[in-house]
């Protein structure tokens, strides 16, 4: 194992980091990386903001047209990947 996390490894761990689910060793390596890697700091902040904003959206907040478009897109995705 390399001494430090790579940016790719950090991106793979970011959800667990924000959920507080990293092991202690992973957490220390994760935070060490954030000390020197400004782009990863930005990525973590963007993910944190995204989760907060998306979590605040209720189904009734969606414009019905947008809701229909999203449902159609997901149905198409399921068909494409089936």
């Amino acid at each position: 194992m390399a001494a430090e996390l790579t940016c790719k490894e950090l991106v793979e761990l970011v959800t667990e980091y924000l959920d507080g689910a990293l092991s202690l060793d992973e957490l220390e390596r994760f935070e060490e990386h954030l000390v020197y890697c400004a782009p990863c700091v930005t990525h973590v902040e963007q993910m944190r903001d995204t989760i907060r904003l998306v979590g605040a959206v209720r189904e009734e907040d969606l414009d019905p047209v947008v809701a229909d478009e999203l449902l159609a897109a997901f149905r198409g995705w399921r068909e494409d990947t089936a």
């Binding site: 001494a3 430090e4 507080g20 202690l24 060793d25 000390v35 020197y36 890697c37 400004a38």
Partner: protein
Amino acid sequence: MKAYKFLLPDRVAPFTGFRWPVGEWAEADRQALCTAGIHACDHGDLPFWLLDELWLIELGESVVRGRHKLVAPNGRLVRRVEAWDAAAGEDFSAACIERVRGLAARRPDAAGHLADLAGWAPHVRPAAVASLAARAFEAFESRKGYDDERAEQSAWLVGRLGLDAAA
């Protein structure tokens, strides 16, 4: 025990956003390595946490050692280490580059690492220069090279900042 703590400007902790008071004891909710507790550095930990401000911190009892940090249930900032400033950061980065230059002199295939490091150094924090330099040594001298370079960085900081005298 006395230790050191790097903070963002105005004594702000990088991961919690906590703004440290000076001279007042701060208490952690519970002591658990990494996830809670007051985090600090001994000399060998310093290169891993380089940020804008360096403070001398007094830690309470029951200090636990992490991979590259100390964790305690409480602590208080004693005083700022004024010698760690932008000029010291630039000199620290230059010293890292010089050691990688020495590596490239012994191992010509390390020239790319040297070029990358010298190119990036003016645009990134000293912490990034330190990491790039250590990884250059790791690439050619495995983990021992990495650890030795980190030890060199620590020794540079202790000497330049007069940390033995500070503690």
